[in-house]
Symmetry: C2
Subunit: 247 residues, 2 copies
DNA sequence: CGAGGTCTTGATGTAGCTCAATCCCTGTGG
DNA sequence: CCACAGGGATTGAGCTACATCAAGACCTCG
């Protein structure tokens, strides 16, 4: 168990997905964030396959690297990691997907998924059959802009992770991660609060061992760069963190 | 001076670009590789701005991070590095572009360039005004597929660099770089030969210091993982390299 | 021939890896 | 209700790979 947020998810729901109904895209509550943001009424007529809404528990996987890519996913809530396995058996987390992000774009170009998508915090996602998106992307230019934005966001995050989270001392990487999370998490008002991950995931994001990740976080707590408000939830003190980040 | 390939480029041509004429896209010699690969005759009528062909000398820059993005570039030959500057003043090379690759895709979505594009080996490029590509991408779906492939290629390379070239020991990173170059360089028949970069660039690609890069390469020479056939050009012995890569 | 740049190599310090023990938390079963 | 088992987090001790600082080699150009 890693994360006591909100109500307890049943063990079962943590390894499986639950069907939550068929999505009503036109009335989507995160429509402005979603891939289909710019679609118009008649565009929706082009959708001939069901778009399902699914709930995935923490630890479950949307898809595995190498699987035939039959669908894209829009993350409506929760948090998903994209994992790439290394030749030596280790793993590296290459991106985090949250509200509004798209997983599996690569199936529009290739055949198979290139990462494994694993749920970090219980997630509500829409599954968009590949054919639906492909068809729409040919028929309406309104989807293109959104698709390009998605691709762009992926590249941006990839570059940011390389330069920000895989460069410099472990200390500065952790500091940058805190700052990054602080920016990106919803409650980022005065002194932002962020929910952290398992030390193992931390290591896989930053390219360090779990022990080092643990040590640095512990040190940050002691030195007062962050304050643990509850198990694995931290208030970030941005000034000293920024200091530590810029080594 | 870093690289004695081919005839000497004048000092001047190494910091400036030379205009080589207006491109004839329809008769492009690398048409099948280029962004406009799938365009049809009448699509070209939609191009209302000149597409210039330019030659950039080693060391010159196509654009700088932060510049207003007025154009995309297709690399016809040569080699270009995408560089991101770090908060601490250092720099990190996040991608390499060669024959057929596109630089500056981000200007289709945002305003400014996100990297600096610096020429490593004298390059012939086509400059595509942003408006031309934007317009075409609205008018013809045939460009979309190509655009998506380009985006996809960027993401792929970014992920590959994170997992392959920024993970593991310096030794294995260098080995993986050699193997990567061997795959991607033209002459990769029996024992592939690759042209290396300055030690400083090596370091910036692998996230290590120039000294470490130098030491590892020197060690590879001594241990016979590679053979220097001429200054900074190496024959790669794939088996032992693969061995070293998989630590 | 001398100047400047890059590459190489050495000596030394240290950050982070490795291996391993302990602690802590939560869920489980008596 | 409590004791226990299991998994993650923390901490320690020792070792190694890499950074750092600095000197020298090599090459090209003026």
């Amino acid at each position: 168990m890693r994360r006591p947020t909100g109500e307890d998810t049943l063990r079962k729901s943590r390894i499986e997905a639950a069907w939550k109904g068929q999505a009503e895209c036109a009335g989507c509550t995160i429509r402005d964030l979603a891939l289909f943001a710019d679609l118009q009424e008649d565009d929706f007529d082009l959708i001939h396959l069901p778009i399902d809404e699914l709930e995935f528990g923490a630890g479950s996987t949307l898809y595995n690297a190498g699987d035939e890519g039959r669908a894209l996913f829009t993350v409506r809530s929760g948090l998903v990691k994209l994992v790439q396995y290394l030749p030596d058996g280790g793993q590296r987390i290459v991106r985090l997907l949250r509200r509004g992000d798209t997983a599996g774009l690569e199936v529009l170009v290739g055949e198979a998924y290139e990462h494994s998508a694993v749920v970090l915090r219980p997630a509500l996602v829409c599954r968009l059959p590949r054919e639906v998106v492909k068809r729409l992307s040919v028929e309406t230019p309104r989807l293109h802009t959104q698709l390009m934005k998605r691709w762009h966001a992926q590249v941006r995050q990839a570059d940011e992770w390389l330069t920000g989270l895989s460069t410099g001392s472990a200390r500065s990487r952790v500091a940058r991660l805190f700052l990054h999370l602080a920016e990106v998490e919803p409650a980022c008002t005065p002194e932002p609060e962020v929910e952290l991950f398992s030390r193992e995931d931390l290591g896989a994001m930053l390219g360090v061992t779990t022990e080092t990740a643990s040590r640095v976080v512990a040190d940050f707590k002691r030195s007062g760069l962050v304050t643990e408000v509850r198990s694995n939830r931290f208030r970030c003190h941005t000034e000293p963190l920024r200091e530590a980040a810029g080594e």
